[in-house]
């Protein structure tokens, strides 16, 4: 367990190092550096001023030296400033991360709950399996931004029950109303994997001899399904959670942009669109780190649940 944890943490560190380096180089390809942008905003700056500013901020250094300075600053907790918001990056990211985690948590609960329920239904009632399969294929194939648009058309424009986007101004319970459509969009887009995998896993478990034994002892079908079959199928379902963490986070970027929710996804998008390279990079790295740690947590939970996995 400890060895696995250490190996995975090393792997995450290496991935982060490669990702940050590759992204830093690529952002070097983005049009204009911060000084160009500053000049565009203030016509009184001369070429000498620009050169002096470049030297002051180290932008005249070679790319590798700039990367080393920047990455070193990150490791020491200096995340730099955002050009777009004119604030320290850390101050912008903290509330955005909380907002995204709320969205992701809600969507994960809903997607897992409905997906597993559908999977159990398909395994327990084979006649319904094709219908569940069809729902899963449709859910997997529909682009999530389009699902969100359909939900907005139905619930915000036609019925007028829920807001089409944005955040609550009063806070409290009212903010829940703004959460419903984004969470539903993200959940529908992600429940297919849970339905398919739990249907397959529970279906396999139901063929085990100890299920027959449990039935023979006079256990009701519902009890057999929920107490005997499902806990043994929980491990493959957790694996889906681990594998799909990246997709869920990517979905958050779409839903946040579509519903105008300030979160990490929208922050990355806005930073990229607004040429705020430092904010974009730091936010992207943080999102990648959180995703990989969540995957690791799901993997460790699998091992905690299933002793057979511990030796591997």
């Amino acid at each position: 367990m400890i060895r696995l944890l250490a190996a995975r943490l090393v792997q995450i560190a290496v991935t982060m190092a490669i990702l940050s380096f590759a992204m830093f180089l690529l952002i070097g390809l983005m049009p204009g550096d911060p000084i160009d942008l500053a000049i565009a905003g203030d016509p009184r700056l001369t070429a000498e001023d620009a050169a002096r500013l470049r030297a002051l901020h180290g932008l005249d250094q070679p790319l590798l030296a700039r990367y080393a300075a920047w990455a070193g600053g990150l490791l020491e907790g200096r995340f730099g400033h955002s050009r777009l918001f004119a604030q320290p990056v850390a101050d912008i990211i903290a509330p955005a991360l909380v907002s995204t985690l709320v969205l992701l948590g809600g969507a994960l609960l809903l997607a897992g709950g409905i997906g597993i329920a559908l999977g159990l239904l398909a395994a327990a009632r084979p006649r319904l399996a094709p219908a569940v399969d069809a729902i899963a294929i449709l859910g997997q194939s529909a682009p999530s931004f389009w699902l969100g648009i359909l939900l907005i058309i139905l619930f915000a424009v036609t019925l007028g029950w829920l807001p089409a986007g944005g955040m609550s101004e009063t806070g409290g319970l009212d903010s829940l109303r703004f959460l419903v459509l984004p969470v539903a969009t993200l959940a529908i887009a992600n429940l297919a994997a849970y339905a398919r995998h739990s249907a397959a896993a529970v279906g396999l478990t139901l063929r085990e001899p100890w299920i027959t034994a449990a039935r023979a002892r006079g256990n009701g079908e519902a009890r057999v399904l929920l107490r005997h079959a499902f806990p043994n199928a929980a491990v493959p379902v957790l694996q889906v959670a681990a594998l799909d963490a990246g997709a869920l986070v990517g979905g958050a970027l779409i839903t946040e942009t579509l519903f105008a929710r300030p979160g990490m996804g929208k922050l990355i998008y806005d930073a990229v669109m607004g040429n705020d390279t430092n904010l974009a990079l730091v936010a992207l790295l943080l999102v990648a780190l959180v995703t990989m740690l969540a995957t690791l947590a799901a993997d460790l939970a699998q091992r905690a649940l299933d002793p057979r996995l511990r030796d591997a």
Binding site: L138, A142, P143, F145, W146, V249, L284
Partner: protein, 271 residues
């Protein structure tokens, strides 16, 4: 059953894409020329699906968009299949440290949230390497290149697993004993026998690429207008939902059908 249904869906969409000029001739208007007197026009005999926010015919843009979206999907999947098969074969054949490095790389790519990375990649300025933004062909090449960066991983993992089992078979040892070179063994004995898993992974890669392209174009980072793609037809959908909800429905439906078609084909091939 699934295979046939999936192929039928894809064939239908491909026919629509190929037949776009014929439909254009029959309807007799230009899907790329704005007509501001016809904004958000309702469905009518001249405009079977109505018109968009610039008065362009929606059906024609949908058909021309199919060309772009399907081309991006197929080209990405092809590139991912070639690259992924090569990497998977190399890892299975060489084994050892190279295998470990390549597979850890694949694991790392899988663990990353792909979309945020793609968004940052799509914003990079490719004009400096001769791919100006906003021209249809260079947009397509740019998107295909970006999507291939993530697309090869699925193919490579499946190809490696299949190749490992084939390389351990007796007929490979027999070929080696007969003096066949390693290149001949890989190309003549291994590749034909792992074609099944590669085909499944490629079908899934087409689905993934169509979805990813539409998402990037929706965000305004993919295929730039006036060229049509299913994703960029939805790029101002937030406004559409109030003025012309139907205009927001059709492109998504086309994406859904294309992706479902590829998924069904992959499912059908797997059985």
């Amino acid at each position: 059953m699934r295979l046939i249904l999936g192929l039928a869906l894809l064939l239908l969409l491909a026919l629509g894409a190929l037949g776009a000029p014929l439909v254009q001739e029959a309807l007799g208007h230009d899907p790329f020329a704005p007509d501001l007197f016809l904004r958000h026009g309702p469905a009518s005999p001249e405009h079977p699906l109505g018109t968009d926010e610039l008065g362009r015919d929606l059906l024609l843009r949908l058909l021309y968009g199919a060309r772009v979206s399907l081309a991006v999907g197929l080209a990405t999947a092809l590139a991912a299949a070639v690259l992924g098969t090569a990497i998977g074969l190399l890892a299975a054949w060489r084994g050892g440290a190279l295998d470990a490095v390549l597979m850890r790389l694949a694991d790392g790519m899988l663990a990353l949230p792909a979309l945020p990375v793609l968004v940052v990649l799509a914003a990079a300025d490719t004009g400096r390497i001769g791919l100006p933004r906003g021209e249809p062909l260079s947009d397509i090449i740019r998107i295909v290149a970006i999507l291939t960066i993530f697309g090869w991983v699925g193919v490579a993992r499946l190809a490696r697993a299949a190749a490992l089992s084939v390389l351990a078979r007796d007929y490979v040892r027999a070929a080696r004993a007969l003096g066949a070179g390693e290149g001949r063994i890989l190309l003549r004995h291994v590749v034909p026998n792992i074609a099944g898993p590669i085909a499944v992974a490629t079908a899934l890669a087409v689905a993934g690429a169509i979805l990813a392209e539409s998402t990037l174009s929706f965000l305004g980072l993919g295929i730039a207008p006036p060229a049509a793609s299913w994703g960029n037809m939805l790029s101002n959908a937030q406004d559409l939902v109030f003025s012309a909800p139907w205009a927001a429905v059709w492109p998504g439906l086309a994406i859904l059908l294309a992706v479902a078609g590829c998924t069904l084909v992959a499912d059908g091939l797997r059985r």
